[in-house]
């Protein structure tokens, strides 16, 4: 293929600024609508796919575009992961392209993820085409968005005004891709180096790896080597999505596509790895590879102990398509057998939790999230602890380090006060303030991640009435004055309620948590004491008086079915609680710590 007629690009945007709609519209303009007579065939193949249960999500689509200059071009539109926890994956995807459409909502303007993504794209040396989207909305202020883009270094005439919804500006965008995005370099003689930027698992075909050939050629039958993991595979198929899967003889430098090589698990294929030929390997892998490590942890426990196996199967299945999800068996004296799971961030955690509950219908208790701490003990040894309950005895600890992040928050200036107060309360270290435009201000903070996992995002949104947007990246581990707080219910320590907290906030948090727990835990048949302790020292205590009333003191005549159903409902409610010692704890109890404001 003539590389000068190839354009590789992706779309980057803040959430809800219209990335997917624009992608759909580009697909329509270049493929499905242009080749109307192909439609029947396409549908057939889709039916076939459906029959076989194949629903592979294309991470890169090849499109043919007949340009105004009369020539035909090949576009590879590469999909970028949609949220903040996947910064590394986003950056690798960007390295697979030469250009990016930076979509900005005409009424919202530049947001935190707009900036974060723009910086990632500039780091990857991409040509940026700014697109001001949703200009059809009554609330659209394209000139303001344009002003903001000018502040970011773009020329006023560079921005394309568009409405993906109404199909406005699409042609102009496609023409700009041809004119501005450089064609890929194409060195086909060098040894193969292809960048892995994504992978998905399919029940029938195994793992489908998405890659960009940087140098050389890859073809069916090649024996390949993953340079970072040293795994070797035989290529069974290479090809492109158009959007249906279309095998090809070979893919060469500059092209984007997929390969299938009998790979069983997405964990065997690391995003950012370099594919080369086992027989003629490249000297060096492509730069920029990082081992992705989970940053946020929590425990998942089935409410009903014998659903442990179901939980394990569900996690195994999710893991097939999510290399970033880590889990290992864990047992809690309070909750029994479960899994400690590691996630890239809070959103990632929420997604997994929701999928377990919704798709796999598992009734489970999620413990409150925490970060990984680094503990240096008296012997000078370093250990990593991802469960507060497992923090060693305070006497044996020399120091504890915790991860810090760099947070960037964009908002209208009216909210600076409350948002800075929030960050200060979260032990934030103020870095700087920068006006993006007269009514958009960016503040940067360094924050302990452990503070961000507790109710930061929700409070940010409520304090700013939804106007603040937030993005972060990991910095480093820093020493902090941290202590472990234990919670005792009816005299028994509940390991799943332990948390690590900064010493200055310990008393306050302990007090607030026992108060919250007193509200959340239903009255039992006996008096229940709830205590918070640091080491052996009780710092707070509340008492739940025994239950005295639970009765249907009313006649419903002969409607006994209704009475029985009321009782069955009560029983269902009891079943959903976790018995810890003699006490029934509702699921909310394990997340109560998240409800405490600083």
């Amino acid at each position: 293929m003539d590389a000068s007629r190839v354009r590789n690009f992706c779309i980057i945007a803040h959430i809800d600024h219209g990335k997917s709609t624009l992608a759909d519209r580009i697909l329509e303009q270049t493929h499905a609508i242009a080749s109307r007579n192909m439609k029947a065939q396409l549908l057939d193949s889709m039916d076939l796919e459906r029959e076989r249960g194949i629903t592979i999500k294309a991470k890169a689509v090849r499109l043919n575009y007949h340009a105004k200059d009369g020539s035909d071009y090949v576009f590879n539109l590469i999909d970028t992961p949609g949220h903040v926890d996947f910064t590394y994956e986003v950056s690798k995807t960007l390295y697979a392209a030469e250009g990016a459409l930076l979509v900005v909502d005409a009424s919202q303007g530049v947001e935190a993820q707009t900036l974060a993504n723009l910086h990632l794209a500039l780091d990857a040396n991409l040509t940026i085409i700014p697109v001001i989207n949703k200009i059809d909305l009554p609330s659209a202020q394209p000139e303001k968005a344009q002003e903001q883009l000018v502040e970011l270094g773009f020329l006023p005439e560079e921005s394309i005004l568009a409405s993906a919804k109404e199909g406005i500006g699409i042609q102009e965008i496609l023409e700009a891709v041809i004119k501005k995005v450089p064609p890929p370099k194409s060195d086909q003689t060098a040894p193969l180096r292809a960048l892995v930027f994504d992978s998905v698992y399919d029940v029938y075909r195994g793992v489908i790896v998405f890659f960009r050939v940087k140098e050389g050629v890859i073809k069916k039958g090649d024996r390949i080597l993953m340079m970072r993991t040293a795994n070797e595979f035989e290529v069974l198929e290479v090809g492109v999505f158009t959007p249906e899967m279309q095998p090809a003889d070979s893919l060469s430098a500059g092209e984007v596509g997929y390969l299938i090589a009998n790979i069983k698990n997405v964990s065997e294929v690391k995003v950012g790895d370099t594919v080369t030929l086992a027989t003629n390997p490249a000297a060096e892998p492509l730069p920029g590879y990082k081992e992705v490590k989970p940053m946020v942890f929590c425990g998942f426990y089935p409410v009903i102990p014998n659903e442990y196996g179901i939980l394990k199967d569900a996690l195994d299945r999710l893991k097939l398509n999510d290399a970033a999800l880590l889990f290992e068996p864990e047992s809690s004296s309070a909750l029994g057998f479960g899994y400690r799971c590691g996630f890239l961030g809070l959103l990632h955690m929420e997604i997994i939790q929701e999928r377990l509950e919704r798709e796999y219908n598992i009734d489970m208790i999620a413990t409150s999230p925490n970060v990984r701490f680094r503990v240096i003990n008296n012997a000078g040894e370093e250990l990593e602890v991802d469960n507060p309950a497992k923090l060693p005895d305070p006497g044996s600890i020399q120091k504890i380090l915790e991860p810090f992040i760099k947070a960037q928050i964009i908002m209208p200036p009216d909210f600076i006060g409350p948002i800075m107060e929030l960050c200060q309360g979260k032990r934030g270290i103020y870095k700087n303030t920068q006006y993006v435009t007269a009514n958009r201000v960016l503040i940067s903070y360094e924050l302990p991640l452990s503070e961000v996992v507790f109710d930061f995002y929700d409070r940010l949104k409520s304090l700013s009435k939804g106007y603040a947007s937030f993005d972060y990246e990991y910095l480093d581990f820093r020493e902090s004055d941290l202590v472990k707080m234990d919670i005792l219910v009816a005299g028994e320590p509940v390991d799943a309620l332990s948390f690590v907290v900064h010493k200055e906030k310990a008393y306050y948090k302990g007090r607030e948590l026992v108060t919250k727990l007193r509200e959340i835990i239903p009255r039992q048949m006996f008096e229940v004491a709830i205590q918070a302790s640091i080491g052996n020292k009780i710092v707070a205590r509340e008492t739940i008086a025994p239950l005295r009333k639970n009765v249907i003191a009313k006649c419903y005549g002969g409607d006994i079915t209704r009475k029985r159903k009321l009782l069955e409902k009560q029983k269902e409610g009891k079943k959903r609680m976790k018995k810890v010692g003699r006490v029934d704890l509702p699921q909310e109890a394990f997340l109560a710590i998240l409800k405490i404001t600083d």
Binding site: V551, A553, C555, G557, G558, D559
Partner: protein
């Protein structure tokens, strides 16, 4: 078929603020009420017939419909069912809706028991509850009924009303005892969704009574009434031999037939209930054979469960020998785990061949029942 007969009269002069029963406000002597009684007669006439173990007119406010319609219905019952002499025939009456004439006609028709919706002896409280009567209406009603020769009279009392104090309950108890009824039913006010009161509590206009205070009131009433009356069911007290036979049919898990909107029946292992909207009920009766909207077949397991949670409502408890005769298995064999647990919590006990709630267990009875469902 033999069983207790329940006849539902859904009409009231007005809906009370706390009421979540199947009732609707209606005009006195309105065509709606007359049409409803026509439908009732049709439904009774179409039923299988048999022997009545009891007859109970509940509501709503049966007395609001007037003596003629009730007597007429009772006649329809008698043409289809054998009602032996001495059979308990109860009519629910609201004070202010019935006088001398009403009770005379009821007595003539064979009614021998009145359940009087007194609810409170305090006029301010009655007003608060949205009741249309005063305490003197209650007292008049009571003496008119007695004068007419109806000597088995039950009074209903509501406690646990927002704002009520222990002193108020003391007064209610004393007043009730001074009226010397044969039967007392006490109901802890529950503020159910869909009632006027629920709305007001929800908006924060009314405080909710604390659970502890409600429990204290329950046990105070129990102790006051138990001096003269037998506390024979969670919420009910009677003089010897004056227990509500009709309600005992429910608690003993025997058969009953319900007529009217929303009425439920149990025949052996089947339970059914009618459409609850009066208009729809009438329509269904006119068009079809029955107005049954819900029907379930009770598995043996369900029957066991229900027998337990109904039987334990009686203070004497579940008769272990009777249980074995009925189900062929020992109660303690079937429910050993539950019994051990609940006995350990001090809610359930075994005494003289009966399994029963302890004193503490009475106001926590749902904690016990859920273990069995």
């Amino acid at each position: 078929m033999n069983g207790g007969l329940y006849i539902h009269i859904p009409f009231c002069a007005a809906k009370c603020a706390y009421c979540s029963f199947n009732s609707i406000p209606a005009e006195k002597n309105s065509p709606l009420i007359k049409r409803y009684f026509e439908a009732l007669k049709l439904e009774i006439g179409r039923s299988d017939g048999g022997e009545a173990a009891s007859v109970y007119f509940g509501g709503g406010t049966p007395s609001f419909a007037g003596a003629e319609l009730l007597a007429d219905t009772l006649l329809a019952v008698r043409t289809k069912y054998f009602v032996p002499p001495e059979t308990e025939i109860t009519v629910e009456v609201n004070p202010g809706t019935a006088g001398k004439d009403f009770f005379r006609k009821m007595k003539e028709a064979g009614v021998n028991r009145i359940s009087l919706g007194m609810q409170s002896s305090d006029d301010a409280t009655l007003k608060y509850l949205g009741r249309l009567h005063t305490n003197s209406d209650t007292e008049n009603c009571l003496s008119e009924a007695r004068a007419a020769g109806i000597e088995n009279i039950g009074l209903d009392l509501i406690y646990g009303i927002p704002g009520q104090s222990m002193r108020d309950i003391e007064k209610e108890a004393a007043k009730l005892l001074s009226l010397a009824p044969q039967h007392i039913s006490t109901y802890c006010l529950s503020i159910d969704e869909g009632t006027g009161m629920f709305e007001r509590v929800h908006k924060g206009e009314l405080p909710e009574l604390s659970e502890d205070l409600a429990a204290d009131m329950y046990y105070l009433l129990k102790d006051r009434f138990s001096v003269k009356y037998s506390h024979y069911e969670l919420s009910n007290y009677s003089l010897p031999g004056r227990e509500s036979r009709h309600n005992e049919i429910y608690w003993n898990y025997n058969d009953y037939i319900g007529f009217g909107a929303g009425a439920a029946s149990k025949r052996g292992s089947r339970r059914m209930s009618n459409e609850s909207g009066p208009e729809k009920y009438m329509e269904l009766i006119k068009r079809n054979d029955s107005a049954i909207l819900f029907e379930e077949s009770l598995t043996e397991e369900t029957q066991l469960k229900e027998t337990v949670f109904l039987g334990l409502r009686l203070l004497r408890g579940i008769d272990l020998a009777g249980w074995k005769t009925r189900f062929g298995k020992d109660f303690l064999f079937l429910f050993e785990k539950q019994f051990e647990k609940l006995a350990g919590l001090g809610l359930l006990e075994q005494k003289d061949g009966f399994i029963k709630l302890t004193r503490e267990g009475l106001f926590l009875s749902n904690e016990v029942f859920v273990e069995f469902v």
